[in-house]
Symmetry: C2
Subunit: 451 residues, 2 copies
């Protein structure tokens, strides 16, 4: 029978029951023996602070490292901060070098040094090699666990060499062929090894047109490379062409997921590593900054309206209708902004085709501006029995939707040029523009034609 | 030397040059021999319609299928639509069954039937098996290319059997152990095969606690499983436990990326498969729908303001300040909404902890409401020299930010319950609420205290 170990929900329910009824011994047993570390991590991330505290306390210290590596940065740091160097060392024993480096990168330098000091020389060197590269580079992602072979041996020798291992590193789909001086000269896929005649030399069957990643390459570029060529692992080399380690698809999947989360979260001024169950005070403080930035934007908009206070005093209907103009502009602009941000991220948008996009968006803005101008204009005439009011709001709609789509195109392109994250600041900039233009166009036209 | 084949940009620039100078023969050569199919697909997706047309015309027909499989649905359909069954058959020769099924799924049933009719019986059966499952299920993702072995042979026999293949399917990290009746009873990882004694039986070293995916499982569940357990491939079985095929990590990576894009795009009412360079008319039509939905929301807001037309007529300063209250509420609400939508997607949020989140958000909303109420109140007093106005806007801020965070928590939870995509409709719902509450609170309080 096929044995599917994915019966998580009922076990979590039982664990919760045990916790609530105070059967802590039972809960401890279920936590430490009934759940995989990745499931424990998921459980911790799904739990409010107090219960999280209790669960962590019930967890066997030797499982701490295994669980820690699966936690998001925010929750991870919460637990790391209260461990001393010795506890860290116990917890992280047996972790892969790249996972260990990920954890250490979160800690202050003095603690990192302390942990490194207490490691064996060889292990320390391997961890230091990874730590010497920023977290978001190929060097920071790599694991120095590659199996290397020489070009002048037969496949038979390779097979016997492999058989001397107790196990091969995870995601070993290729063996890396290096010279005596550790320069990477080819890769031998396990698939090729399994179907080739065992008497041929590695040199004869190895691939020489492989993807070697520079240690300084950005993690996004690594992700693109893996996706484009359906890679499972790829070697990392230094500028001297010497092999440093390899990157595996599981770490690349994390990069892809985090990049995607970053976009969604930063559109609301949030961090992608944020703990879902962060306490109220910390949450308030973090969110306040973004609210402050938006207050500046809202104040600018309010000042723009202020110029037309007299007009509003005379025709209050303008105040009733004006949010329609600004909100429709905001929606039209954010549609364009979203398409452009994605296009830039996918590498579709470049200097050569921005002009085409600008013209397309101009046409789209004018078309939808006209369509909805007619609808909103008619609605306004019907509601306030005033044809001029309908004409004015219709004109304002066309102006604002056209400006909105143009701003939606230009803002991300310009932010990109200044190396500012368009997902973070594009939205605020855009709605400030569409609000100001919407209100000024509508109230300005009203002032000109009514008064 | 390590041979890195990633020199794409200069080749694309040269190709563009050739196209612009009208050297079509040269461009044709570069397109068909100088670029990998995945790069041609990327080029097509980065090109406005007219140039795209020319490029497609220059592409060798036998490369069409290879290129098509890398295109987004929108662009893919554009080219598929104008091919007849015979052209489709030529284009798709040699594609993997899952990629072929992906392409066919886009076409009308009559065309699918025509293509299937002209296939060999065995290939047809394999494609039909995949087509019988919806695109977004494990069955729709799977490839029937698994290598299967029997439990009662020695590893030596397995190795000799593999050596009879010319190549193994991509991402073959495990061999699937089946009974005579094709029931899946275990998996043998290639790694295990390589390090084990060749004289032992498959049955002795195979894993029996493996992840077998039901063909009807959703693609998101498949993605979660792969991420949690760092899988490279996993077998797919029917309800009878019989092996149907396997899913590989490259297809799962596509699912993860598309899920992430879906969230970002649907927040602006867009489709994740949308062609960045869709023509103006098609783009206008698609976006108009979303603008229409938002117009309904804006009209509701406008009607709410309408109740206070008289108040505004008397104190126009209210119209100047009111967008601040609504916009700050919108921001606070969308921060909560974003955290909740992510929490639900990650499986962190469940019935058990929604209450904790609701209280946390209530505290956050009140805290930030109070902080910014003081700031906005002071600003208003300073600007209009009217203490009562400052008090009123401060009160409205606290009310709106508190309601906003509560709505941001409850909306996605309720939408989820009704199986409505919160990324699509959450934003409109939320801003309608924060706008209405913001305006009504502010203008209502002003009416009560001033008049």
């Amino acid at each position: 029978m096929s044995n599917n170990p994915e019966k998580l929900q009922p076990r979590l329910a039982k664990l919760n029951e045990a916790l609530e009824s105070g059967a802590l011994d039972q809960a401890r047993r279920m936590l430490n023996r009934g759940l995989a570390p990745v499931d424990v991590a998921h459980l911790l991330e799904s739990t409010p602070p107090k219960e999280r505290e209790i669960l962590w306390g019930l967890l066997d210290p030797e499982l701490h490292g295994d669980v820690l590596q699966y936690l998001g940065d925010d929750v991870q740091l919460e637990f790391l901060n209260r461990m001393d160097a010795e506890q860290l060392l116990t917890a992280t024993e047996g972790l892969d070098v790249d996972d260990l480096a990920d954890l250490l990168q979160q800690l202050p330098n003095t603690v990192i040094q302390e942990v490194l000091q207490s490691m064996e020389a060889q292990e320390r060197q391997r961890v230091e090699a990874v730590l010497s590269y920023p977290e978001d580079t190929a060097g920071g992602l790599m694991n120095p666990d590659a199996i290397t072979i020489r070009p002048d041996i037969t496949l038979d020798v390779v097979l016997r060499y492999l058989r001397r291992h107790e196990r091969l590193p995870d995601a070993t789909d290729t063996l890396l062929v290096v010279t005596r001086r550790d320069e990477l000269i080819g890769i031998l896929s396990i698939n090729r090894l399994l179907v080739s005649d065992v008497s041929v030399l590695v040199r004869e069957v190895m691939q020489t047109d492989f993807h070697a990643i520079q240690a300084t390459a950005s993690d996004s570029d690594v992700a693109t490379l893996f996706q484009k060529h359906d890679l499972i692992s790829a070697p990392v080399v230094g500028i001297d062409g010497k092999l440093l380690g390899r990157i595996t698809i599981d770490d690349v999947v994390d990069v892809i997921r985090e990049d995607a989360e970053h976009q969604v979260m930063s559109m609301a001024g949030l961090d992608e590593d944020e703990d879902t169950f962060a306490p109220a005070l910390r949450t308030s403080r973090r969110r306040a900054v973004w609210l402050g930035i938006n207050l500046i934007a809202a104040t600018i908009v309010s000042i723009a309206i202020g110029f037309f206070e007299d007009t509003i005093q005379q025709i209050a209907a303008l105040a009733v209708l004006m949010p329609i103009v600004s909100s429709m502009g905001g929606i039209a602009g954010s549609q364009t902004l979203t398409v452009l941000i994605r296009g830039i991220a996918l590498g579709h948008v470049s200097g050569a085709n921005v002009r085409w996009l600008l013209i397309r968006e101009l046409l789209v803005g004018m078309t939808n501006g006209l369509i909805w101008a007619v609808v909103v204009g008619a609605m306004s005439v019907f509601r306030f029995d005033d044809i001029r009011l309908g004409e004015i709001i219709a004109m304002a709609m066309v102006i604002n939707l056209t400006v909105a789509t143009l701003a939606g195109t230009l803002i991300p392109v310009m932010l990109k040029k200044f190396k500012i994250d368009p997902a973070l600041s594009g939205g605020v900039l855009l709605t400030t523009i569409t609000d100001v233009v919407g209100f000024v166009a509508f109230l300005g036209l009203a002032t000109a034609f009514y008064l």
